[in-house]
Symmetry: C2
Subunit: 277 residues, 2 copies
């Protein structure tokens, strides 16, 4: 029997990363939780896992620079991307009703994103916990009768808990974008619908970015993300994160990247990948 592929992610079982993994990996897989993002990237580089699922940005919280740094450090290519809507739920052990809740465990960011719901239950004590799914695990293991947790539906399912109130986040437009990372890039057909992520650095002179973007605009290449990041310690240089629709296997994208290389300090392709809706 062939062994199942091992897919690493950051967090506890039941985390939103697990939902992303289900969308990103088609074949049967074993999920391997890792405590931190650096540990996740090290596990993939060191062949402890076959793939890694890593969040890269959230519509409310922004880009996760830590993971861009790890992508630059490790040279592990992006193979696929997807987005997961972050749906917060109030979860409790079976038998615990809304009336018996006294404490609500979750990560502080989840508490903040459910502020309006929690304001309607001011008598509840808001207790910070390390992980959303981990807080469900804890209240189930300790068989708490006056506690609930805020976490995903997947966490409720995994630990056999019940959803007392569904989709309690203030802002429904709360999405996280995830990458599937591997050790080897897969060549995608030049004609397909693909996206490419790059990082480049320019000196901070007027018009520098404008010249960089001309490499794409003059070739009618559509950008889907651009973000500058000041390079600390090198106060007049900037890193840019840029995503465009296209594939370096096509002449037009290859020429754009060549053109960009002439006018920047460095360019790195982080991956060319397809989107899983």
């Amino acid at each position: 029997m062939k062994r199942r592929v091992r897919v690493g992610f950051q967090g506890e079982h039941g985390a939103f990363h697990e939902q992303a993994a289900r969308k990103l990996v088609a074949q049967p897989f074993e999920l391997v939780p890792l405590p931190t993002f650096p540990a996740l990237f090290r596990a993939l580089a060191g062949r402890k896992i076959d793939y890694a699922v890593a969040a890269i940005e959230n519509t409310l919280a922004g880009s996760i620079h830590e993971n861009y740094d790890l992508l630059l450090k490790h040279r592990l290519p992006i193979l696929k991307e997807t987005s997961v809507r972050i749906v917060h739920n109030l979860i409790a052990p079976k038998g615990v009703s809304l009336r018996s809740v006294r404490k609500v465990y979750s990560m502080p960011i989840a508490h903040r994103q459910c502020a309006r719901f929690l304001e309607r239950h001011r008598s509840w004590e808001v207790v910070p916990y390390y992980d959303t799914a981990g807080s469900v695990k804890m209240i189930m293991e300790q068989k708490l009768t006056d506690a609930a947790a805020i976490a995903s539906k997947v966490a409720a399912e995994r630990y056999g808990a019940r959803i007392l109130a569904a989709d309690i986040g203030d802002d429904k437009e709360n999405y996280t974008r995830f990458f599937l990372l591997g050790r080897r890039a897969v060549k995608l057909p030049a004609s397909g619908s693909t996206k490419t992520s790059i990082v480049f650095a320019t000196r901070n002179v007027p018009g520098a970015l404008f010249r960089c973007l001309s490499a794409f605009a003059l070739r009618d290449i559509n950008l889907t993300k651009i973000e500058s990041r000041p390079l600390r310690g090198r106060p007049f240089e900037y890193l840019f994160y840029l995503d465009f629709l296209g594939n370096p296997a096509s002449a037009v994208a290859r020429n754009a990247l060549k053109n960009l290389g002439e006018i920047t300090e460095f360019v790195r392709v982080l991956g060319c990948y397809s989107r899983i809706p």
Copy 2:
């Protein structure tokens, strides 16, 4: 006697916001802690405070979209900006030594940013807490003899605690950028060294951003930040955050903004302000 100005911030006394306030406000002031960013903006709009100090981005964690959203919603102008290096310290009550520490309280993000230090003390229990400064306050009030907290030097000073280990963060390039917000914009001289922050939206067609940036590049205006943010619910539109060196009081910047207005769906100036080093 004239009353001191009231400066609001998010968090507990001793938070990094308090360090930013000391740099941003020259006159004597009273600090008003507020529980969340929406509460902070509401307090300023509702005249409960005279100024607000709000974090807008961190070199490791990225832009705080929540506060960009609040800036768009409330029309409270940016008056000044500054950066504060986030220096994490291990803090304990006087009399508690490194050897007697068993538990370390702080926000999960602070624990993560001190991962290498904590790995050298694996026997310690890492306990999540709602706030960095609040964790110092708690261990002092409860007179814990086996606990430490990770927080700022200002938090140690405010609660009379001692720094057991200074600057324990993994990445020394950890800076947060803060804005000082008021209710009325202050006109700055067109010739001075000022920065302007704007938000604009374009339709997502190839070259749209390139045309927008031409408004600045053709006038030799230097950009210091650009970031795209997909507009959820309007899948082919993007918001852009852009900072440039200059002042709409000057003809060149005024013309650039006029030009930008012709080719975008909307443009908003969030403020024109000076930098406090």
